[in-house]
C-alpha cells in the first residue's frame, strides 16, 4: 500500500510539473534569416562640426520614403503649396534662415538627401531614435523633439519642393 502512495505522489508531482509546461511553445529548427549589415553609411564626422552642419548625401533616413526624384526645374505650383503647408505646420519651430527651436531649412538639400528630409518630416519619432544623424541633431537642439505634424506624403513632398526655392 505504501508503494501505491509513493507512486501516486510521484504521479501527482509529475502532473504538477506537466501543468506548468503546458503553455510553453518551443521554437525549433534553424533560422536562415539574413543578418542586417552592421556597416553604417554615415559620412565620416569632421571634428567639431555640429550635426546640423554636417553633410551626408547618401543617408536616406528611416521611413516610408525610399526614393525621390527631383526634376531639374522647381515645380512652382508644388512649391507654393509647400510654402503654405510649411507656414501652417512648421513655423512654430523653424525659421527659414536662422536657427530657432530647430535648424533652418535653407540649403538643406546641400547637406541631406531629399529622402532623409521627407522621412524626418513623416517619421520623426523613429528617426530621432534610430537614424544616427537625427539622433545627434536631437542632442544638438537640446532634446527638443521634432514633432510629427501628420503631413501626408504629398504635403511633405511639397514642403521639400518649397525648400528648393529657399536661398
Amino acid at each position: 500500500m505504501k508503494t501505491t502512495l509513493k507512486l501516486m505522489t510521484v504521479l501527482f508531482i509529475t502532473m504538477l510539473i506537466s501543468c506548468g509546461g503546458k503553455e510553453e511553445k518551443k521554437k525549433e529548427g534553424f533560422s536562415y534569416k539574413k543578418k542586417e549589415t552592421t556597416e553604417k553609411t554615415t559620412a565620416p564626422k569632421a571634428e567639431k562640426t555640429p550635426p546640423s552642419k554636417q553633410v551626408d548625401l547618401t543617408n536616406k533616413g528611416i521611413g516610408p520614403i525610399k526614393t525621390v526624384t527631383l526634376a531639374a526645374e522647381v515645380d512652382q505650383t508644388m512649391a507654393t503649396h509647400g510654402a503654405d503647408v510649411y507656414k501652417k505646420m512648421c513655423t512654430a519651430c523653424h525659421r527659414t534662415n536662422k536657427k530657432f527651436i530647430g535648424p533652418p531649412p535653407t540649403g538643406i538639400l546641400e547637406r541631406r538627401t531629399p529622402e532623409w528630409v521627407m522621412n524626418m518630416i513623416l517619421n520623426p519619432e523613429q528617426m530621432v531614435k534610430e537614424d544616427p544623424l537625427a539622433k545627434e541633431l536631437l542632442m544638438e537642439f537640446n532634446g527638443s523633439p521634432m514633432a510629427n505634424q501628420g503631413l501626408t506624403e504629398k504635403e511633405a513632398r511639397a514642403v521639400l519642393e518649397y525648400f528648393r526655392t529657399l536661398k
Partner: protein, 656 residues
C-alpha cells in the same frame, strides 16, 4: 484502515491536480474554489486591450467614467454635468455654455442612466446618452471623441429619473419625471398635490446624422412618480414602459404614504400613435423656458440657446395610446427582454417578481378588458396581462438585465445578491452574493435586442470592508461575474467613481476603431484660434485683452507679453499646434480664478484671467509634454491701471 485513509487522501490530491490543470475557458458548471483560473480570466496583459468598454454613470459626480472589461481598469472620466478642472470643462469660455440652464449656470449634476445609441435594436456605438436627475437635462456624448456634445434641459420635469433610454433605432431618447409638479409651475399649496400635479414624459427626437436632440412632445400624465422606463423592442417596438410609484399621490412622508397601495402601475405608452397624432398637428404648444446647449467640434465652442415653447399632449386626447398595468408594489426597474415580449416590474417592496406579457396586453386592450381608469387612462386587469411570477427570488428587487440566451438577472438590494432566472418557466437557476447592497447591474448590450453576454457586473451601494479603508468615505464597489456558464462566477472586485446608477457596456471593436486621435488644425474654425506662428498676437479692445497663444513642444508663442494693466480682463486663447496623437499641452497662469486648460492637438481653449496685482507673472504648461516640458513657460507683465506700457509680445527675440 489507515491505508484506506491515506490512499483516499492521495486520490483526492490527484483529483485536485487534475482540476487545477484545467485551463479551458468554458467555465460551465465549475465554480468556487476549484475554479482556480479566475485571475487569468480578468488579467489583461500589459499593452493588451480589454474586450469590452463600460460607461458608468458617476451619480453625484455628474460625470461618466470609462472602464475596460474584464480588467476593471478605468480609462477616462468624461465630464458631462459637472465642472472638471482637469480639462477646464465648464471653466473654459468655450464650455461654460454647456452648463447653462433656465436656472442659470449650474456647476454640478446628478448623472444617472447611460444608454448607448442603437440601430435595429443593436448597439451601434455612436453616442452615449445620460440624464441629469436634479436639474432635468439629457446629455449626448460622442463615442468618437469621448466628449459631451450636447445637453438639453427638460422643462416641466423634476427629478429626471425614468431616463435616458433610447428606442430601437434611436428615434427618441426618453426622459420621464420622477417627481410630479404643477404644470405649468405656479404658486399653490403643497397639500393640494393630488389631482393638481402632473408628471411629464418627454420624447426627445434624435437626428439620425448629427444626433441633435429636440423635444418632440411631452405627455402630461397623472401626478405619480415615474421611476424607470425602457423601450419596447422587436414585437413591442413603438411602445415605451414606465414604472410608477406613489400612485397614492402623497406629498409628504412618502416612505410610508407612497407604500399604501397593494399595486402601482406600469404605464404602457404607444409612442408611435402619439407621434402620428403630433405629426398631424395634435397637442398644444405651451410656453416654456429651457436651455439647449450644443458643442461644435469645428469651433471647439458650445453655444446655449433658450427655447421658449414645448409641445404637450394630454394622454386622454389620444385614445388607445396610454394604459396602466397594475404591478406590485412600488416597482422600480422596468425592464424589457430582448424579444420585446416580457416586461419585468421589479416591485421593490414585493416578495415576488412580476413579469407582464406584451401579447396578453395587446389582447386585453383589444377586448377592452379594463379594471377601471385613472384620470381617464384605462387600467388593465393584473391577471390578464401577467405572464408569470418569479416566486420569492430575494428581497428588494431593483433591476433586471438579459443575456440573450433566455435568462434574466435581477439585483436584490436588501438581500445583496444577483439572481439568475429563466424566462418562461420563471424558475430560479442561480444566485450569487454581491458586496454589498447592489443597485444596478449591467450586461453588455443588456438593454438591447442583442445582448453581448459573457460578463455581467453589479454596482453596489455599500462598500464596507471590500477594500483597504479610506476613512468614512469610500468609493463604491462593483463585482464582475462570468455569466457564460450555467452558474454565475464572481471574477473581480473593482472600485467605481461617484455613485454609478447603471452603466452601458458593449464590445470594444466598433468604438475602438472609430476613436478620434487628434483634431485637425485645418478644420479648426475657432474665431480666436492661432493656427500658425504668424497668427499669434495680442489685441486690446478697451479693457479686454485677447492673447492668441500657440503651444508646441515645448514653448508658448508668444512667451513674453507686456502691456497688460490691473483691471483688464485677459483672454488666453490657447491653440495646440500639435498634430500627433496624445500630445496635449496644459495652460496655467498664477492667480487663475477658474481652472487650468488641457488642450488637445488641434484644439483651441480659452481661459479668462483678471490680474489684480502689478508684477511680472509666470504661466506654464501643466502637462508633461517633452524632455523640455519644464522649460515650457512664459511671463506676462502687469502694469498699473493708469500706466502707458504698450502692448508687446514676442518669442525668442534673443535667439542667435
Amino acid at each position: 484502515m489507515k491505508n484506506i485513509i491515506t490512499s483516499s487522501i492521495a486520490m483526492l490530491v490527484i483529483l485536485i491536480g487534475f482540476t487545477s490543470c484545467n485551463k479551458g475557458n468554458n467555465s460551465g458548471g465549475k465554480s468556487g474554489a476549484l475554479a482556480s483560473n479566475v485571475a487569468e480570466r480578468v488579467y489583461v496583459a500589459p499593452g493588451e486591450y480589454d474586450s469590452h468598454y463600460a460607461f458608468l454613470s458617476g451619480g453625484y459626480s455628474g460625470n461618466v467614467t470609462v472602464y475596460g472589461l474584464p480588467s476593471g481598469r478605468m480609462f477616462k472620466e468624461i465630464p458631462v454635468f459637472s465642472q472638471f478642472p482637469t480639462s477646464g470643462y465648464g471653466y473654459s469660455e468655450e464650455t461654460k455654455p454647456m452648463l447653462n440652464t433656465s436656472h442659470g449656470f449650474i456647476p454640478w449634476g446628478d448623472a444617472h442612466h447611460p444608454d448607448i445609441s442603437q440601430s435595429k435594436g443593436e448597439l451601434d456605438g455612436r453616442w452615449l446618452f445620460i440624464n441629469e436627475n436634479n436639474t432635468p437635462r439629457i446629455a449626448r456624448l460622442s463615442l468618437t471623441t469621448f466628449e459631451t456634445e450636447e445637453i438639453i434641459e427638460v422643462p416641466n420635469s423634476a427629478g429626471n429619473h425614468s431616463s435616458s433610454f433610447v428606442t430601437e433605432n434611436t428615434e427618441y431618447v426618453v426622459a420621464g419625471t420622477r417627481f410630479s409638479v404643477p404644470i405649468p409651475q405656479r404658486d399653490m399649496p403643497i397639500k393640494d398635490y393630488k389631482g393638481n400635479f402632473q408628471g411629464a414624459l418627454s420624447f426627445i427626437s434624435v437626428a439620425p446624422e448629427t444626433g441633435n436632440m429636440d423635444i418632440k412632445f411631452q405627455i402630461l400624465m397623472p401626478g405619480f412618480n415615474y421611476d424607470l422606463s425602457h423601450p419596447g423592442r422587436g414585437k413591442s417596438h413603438g411602445w415605451f414602459f414606465f414604472t410608477t410609484y406613489n400612485t397614492e399621490e402623497a406629498s409628504t412622508l412618502l416612505e410610508v404614504n407612497a407604500s399604501q397601495n397593494d399595486k402601482d402601475f406600469i404605464a404602457a405608452i404607444n409612442w408611435k400613435k402619439i407621434e402620428e397624432y403630433v405629426n398631424n398637428g395634435g397637442g398644444t404648444m405651451m410656453p416654456a423656458n429651457y436651455a439647449h446647449n450644443v458643442y461644435d467640434e469645428e469651433t471647439h465652442t458650445a453655444t446655449s440657446t433658450m427655447k421658449k415653447e414645448v409641445r404637450v399632449v394630454n394622454p386622454i386626447d389620444v385614445p388607445g395610446a396610454v394604459y396602466f398595468i397594475p404591478t406590485p408594489k412600488s416597482p422600480h426597474g422596468c425592464d424589457v427582454d430582448p424579444s420585446g415580449e416580457y416586461i419585468v416590474g421589479n416591485g421593490k417592496l414585493s416578495a415576488n417578481l412580476t413579469v407582464h406579457s406584451f401579447t396578453k396586453m395587446l389582447d386585453a386592450i383589444e377586448k377592452e378588458k379594463f379594471a377601471g381608469e385613472a384620470y381617464g387612462i384605462p387600467i388593465l386587469n393584473f391577471e390578464d396581462v401577467l405572464a408569470g411570477v418569479v416566486e420569492q427570488p430575494g428581497l428588494g428587487p431593483l433591476h433586471t438585465e438579459f443575456d440573450g440566451k433566455g435568462y434574466a438577472y435581477t439585483t436584490f438590494f436588501i438581500s445583496s445578491e444577483v439572481v439568475k432566472w429563466k424566462i418562461g418557466t420563471w424558475e430560479v437557476i442561480d444566485r450569487k452574493p454581491t458586496y454589498y447592497s447592489v443597485g444596478h447591474l449591467t450586461i453588455p448590450g443588456g438593454n438591447s435586442g442583442k445582448p453581448q453576454g459573457k460578463y455581467m457586473f453589479a454596482m453596489n451601494k455599500i462598500t464596507k470592508d471590500r477594500y483597504l479603508p479610506t476613512g468614512p468615505e469610500m468609493e463604491h464597489s462593483a463585482q464582475l461575474y462570468d455569466i457564460s456558464g450555467d452558474k454565475m462566477e464572481l471574477l473581480l472586485d473593482f472600485p467605481t467613481h461617484g455613485e454609478p446608477h447603471y452603466a452601458a457596456a458593449m464590445e470594444a471593436s466598433i468604438i475602438k476603431e472609430q476613436s478620434q486621435k487628434i483634431y485637425k488644425l485645418a478644420d479648426n474654425k475657432h474665431p480666436y484660434a492661432a493656427k500658425s506662428d504668424a497668427d499669434t498676437k495680442v489685441v486690446r479692445e478697451g479693457k479686454e485683452v485677447h492673447i492668441y497663444l500657440t503651444t508646441i513642444r515645448s514653448h508658448f508663442s508668444p512667451d513674453n507679453i507686456e502691456g497688460i494693466k490691473v483691471g483688464d480682463k485677459v483672454y488666453f486663447h490657447v491653440t495646440n499646434l500639435e498634430q500627433d496623437f496624445d500630445v496635449p499641452h496644459g495652460f496655467a497662469v498664477i492667480g487663475q480664478n477658474n481652472s487650468e486648460l488641457l488642450v488637445m492637438p488641434g484644439q483651441t481653449k480659452t481661459s479668462v484671467w483678471e490680474p489684480k496685482q502689478v508684477g511680472v507673472w509666470p504661466f506654464y504648461c501643466t502637462d508633461f509634454c517633452s524632455a523640455l516640458h519644464q522649460e515650457m513657460q512664459g511671463y506676462i507683465r502687469v502694469s498699473a491701471a493708469d500706466s502707458d506700457t504698450p502692448i508687446k509680445w514676442s518669442l525668442g527675440e534673443d535667439i542667435e
